[in-house]
């Protein structure tokens, strides 16, 4: 009897441990993956705004006719420009800032895509896959950084955005912009190493940088990380952006679908049976 009970408790305990451990193990798995992502650290203090990275990017992605006007106005990325550098008037004078896909750890576009055309690869880049995309543009609706662009004037349009040169990465090379940057403002590496490096720079030069790494927590963390000498809103960043991931916003809805799909028919059937029987008795009377 007592042995039985003991075995019972043992089994219960083992199950409880398995259940409680099971989840943290999964969670730590995910975080290990995230620290394995590669990314780029962009240091605004080192950037001189030469637009060289724009030319290198166009080169790497086959845009042959590429020209940037002298004294360019404020520009946004579009279907022909995967990255742009703009100048901002700030409290420390004119400062450049490069814009491109942030390659979120948990991208909204990836969660939004119903054909898995937008895809976060294990190495870090968020890529777009031509054979899967149906051109619904839901990724454009979802992206908090407004990055995916659409070729409206094409009969077989593509979604265009920075892919962190995923093809080059496969060959063991590094993204074109980071490879060519003359001032070493762009540093390519493992995301966890980049965060450590960014912290070191802030620590060593507390007067040069604001004490914040944009992208460490924004939108749940991004593969692109920014260091700035001025508050980030002065160089055009959305500083009100949430620090949890965007796919998390739809998680509640998506997890409620299965219960509703299963429970609601049962409830409806119950009501149907209830109203049916009363009407029959009325008819019989």
């Amino acid at each position: 009897m007592s042995i039985n009970r003991r075995t019972f408790f043992k089994a219960m305990g083992a199950t409880a441990v398995a259940l409680s451990v099971g989840k943290p193990v999964f969670a730590s798995d995910a975080s290990v993956n995230e620290s394995e992502f590669y990314g780029i650290l962009y240091d605004i203090t080192k950037c001189v705004g030469c637009h060289g990275c724009e030319y290198d990017c166009a080169d790497a992605h086959g845009f042959t006719e590429f020209d940037i006007p002298k004294d360019p106005p404020f520009r946004q990325t579009d279907e022909k420009h995967r990255t742009v550098v703009n100048e901002y008037e700030t409290s420390k004078g004119k400062l450049p800032r490069k814009t491109q896909c942030m390659h979120c750890n948990q991208p909204a576009c990836d969660a939004a895509c119903l054909t898995q055309a937008m895809h976060k690869t294990a190495e870090g880049p968020v890529i777009w896959r031509e054979d899967k995309c149906m051109g619904c543009r839901y990724c454009m609706i979802s992206c908090p950084f407004d990055i995916p662009k659409f070729e409206y004037n094409s009969t077989n349009p593509e979604i265009v955005k920075c892919d962190m040169c995923a093809e080059l990465l496969k060959e063991g090379e590094i993204p074109a912009c980071a490879y060519n940057c003359p001032e070493e403002a762009l540093l390519y590496g493992k995301r966890s190493d980049l965060i450590r490096e960014a912290r070191r720079r802030i620590h060593d030069n507390p007067d040069t940088y604001v004490d914040h790494i944009y992208g460490e927590h924004e939108a749940g963390g991004t593969s692109w990380l920014y260091l700035s000498p001025v508050p980030f809103n002065e160089v055009g960043f959305n500083t009100k952006i949430q620090t949890t991931s965007y796919p998390g916003l739809t998680k509640g809805f998506i997890s409620s679908i299965a219960p509703v799909d299963i429970l609601l028919p049962a409830v409806l059937l119950g009501i149907y049976e209830a109203t049916k029987s009363t009407s029959k008795t009325e008819e019989e009377l």
Binding site: Q76, D78, E79, A108, A111, A112, C113, L114, T115, Q116, A117, D131, K132, C133, M134, G135, C136, R137, Y138, M140, I141, S142, P144, D146, K149, F150, E151, Y152, N153, S154, T155, N156, P157, N238, K240, I241, Q242, Y246, P247, L249, T250, G252, F253, I254, I257, V260, D261, L264, P265, L268, L269, I271, Y272, T275, K276, T278, S279
Partner: protein
């Protein structure tokens, strides 16, 4: 083997069916009605624009921008249209689940309307897809994006169309005089009803959930985490308002299909529907107030967007709610009809606010639909009305079912 040796001739009943179909394809009723004279040229222009869209790309006929990727074709045809088609699931619930026999006379026309609406709105959706052929990826399942709200909406949409077709199918069987098929189809209607309602609740709310990730892009007065709930609640009275509005038109146009008793019962039905709308709108309004307080939105009320928000809430929710209330208390059919039109405009305003007007309201380049987008939208609505009219004139939708069909259950 023996089937191969048989000569390829139609069986007598099949030949009858084809000649029956051909005779039914001929137009019934007058050809040069004002509606036809207006709608036909618009449809022709619309078809040309659709051709140009496939020839030169979406940008050649629309004003869509990189900031606002979903325009009139999604914001009106799909997002608003699905809410308007909500009447089908609400009435099916009332008649088939709650057993409210009073509403049975308008059930078929509502289900047919819902089915056609879904059919043509999905056609509009295909026009808006940049790479429409790849839509097959969603269906055949080599690339299931199961974490995507749009994926779930799409599948619920597709299955619901099937459910609506099954719910309507007995009428098709009655039209073709197919008695055995009618019995089978009537038998499976209940399953279609239950799953149809479930699928509706989920995709109506799913359309609201589509915009959950656009948190920083939709004005805070319209964006909130309760959008799925608000969408499903508003679809109830949006759908019923459409039933009232559409019913008042079809009762004039198709009066030859109706007998005296159904004209009388229709008045009762409208009053009953107005009551449901009042309650539904009150629930919706309460929800809106709760959300407004919960999201601490007072600071926006004094801005221009705040005034626009008040226009929507007071002019197009509170006002029609009182009109519906007054209408059903005093049995004023005209007031109810006006209320239903105001409600429909309000739903249109709400859905367009979320998907277009207050979406990236801060964008440098505002999106204003091109005339081509309007014409294509009208074209889709007109084709739908033409198909609806064709079916109503032929199948027992408004008129009574044939004797044999009524006796079978």
């Amino acid at each position: 083997m023996s089937t191969n040796s048989q000569p390829a001739v139609l069986l007598p009943n099949e030949r009858n069916f084809f000649s029956f179909l051909i005779s039914e394809l001929k137009p019934k009723g007058k050809i040069f009605t004002p509606f036809n004279i207006i709608s036909f040229p618009i449809m022709m222009i619309g078809l040309v624009i659709i051709f140009l869209r496939f020839k030169n790309g979406i940008g050649s006929v629309t004003n869509l921008t990189q900031d606002v990727p979903w325009g009139l074709w999604i914001g009106f045809d799909v997002v608003t249209g699905v809410a308007f088609a909500g009447g089908a699931y609400v009435l099916v619930f009332m008649v088939n689940i709650l057993n409210l026999k009073k509403y049975k006379p308008i059930l078929r026309i509502t289900v047919l309307n819902g089915f056609l609406a879904y059919l043509f709105y999905s056609a509009a959706l295909l026009l808006d897809l940049g790479r429409p052929l790849n839509v097959i990826n969603v269906v055949i399942g080599n690339n299931f994006g199961v974490s995507s709200v749009l994926f779930l909406v799409g599948w619920h949409f597709l299955l619901y169309m099937l459910a609506l077709l099954l719910e309507f199918s007995p009428a098709i069987a009655e039209w073709m005089n197919a008695r055995k098929v009618h019995k089978i189809l009537s038998g499976i209607t209940m399953g279609a009803v239950i799953f149809g309602i479930t699928l509706s609740v989920l995709h109506q709310s799913g359309i609201g959930a589509l915009f959950l990730m656009a948190k920083d892009k939709i004005h805070p007065l319209w964006y909130n985490s309760y959008m799925p709930l608000l969408f499903v609640v508003s679809s109830i009275f949006a759908g019923i308002s459409m039933v009232i509005f559409e019913g008042s038109i079809s009762h004039k146009v198709f009066s030859d299909q109706l007998d005296e008793s159904s004209h009388q019962s229709h008045k009762n039905i409208i009053v009953g529907l107005a009551k449901i709308c009042t309650v539904g709108m009150f629930a919706y309004f309460t929800l809106l107030v709760l959300v407004f307080i919960h999201e601490k939105n007072w600071e926006y009320i004094s801005t221009p967007m705040g005034s626009w928000f008040l226009v929507e809430i007071i002019g197009f929710v509170v006002l029609p709610m009182f009109l519906f209330f007054y209408g059903y208390r005093h049995h004023k059919i005209t007031v109810i009809k006006v209320a239903s039109i105001v409600t429909l405009l309000g739903i249109m305003l709400n859905r367009m606010n979320i998907s277009i007007i207050c979406y990236r309201w801060d964008a440098a380049e505002r999106y204003i639909p091109s005339w081509q987008e309007f014409v294509v939208t009208l074209t889709i609505i007109f084709i739908e009305v033409w198909v609806l009219r064709w079916i109503v004139r032929r199948m027992p939708v408004l008129r009574q079912s044939p004797e044999w069909a009524r006796n079978s259950h």
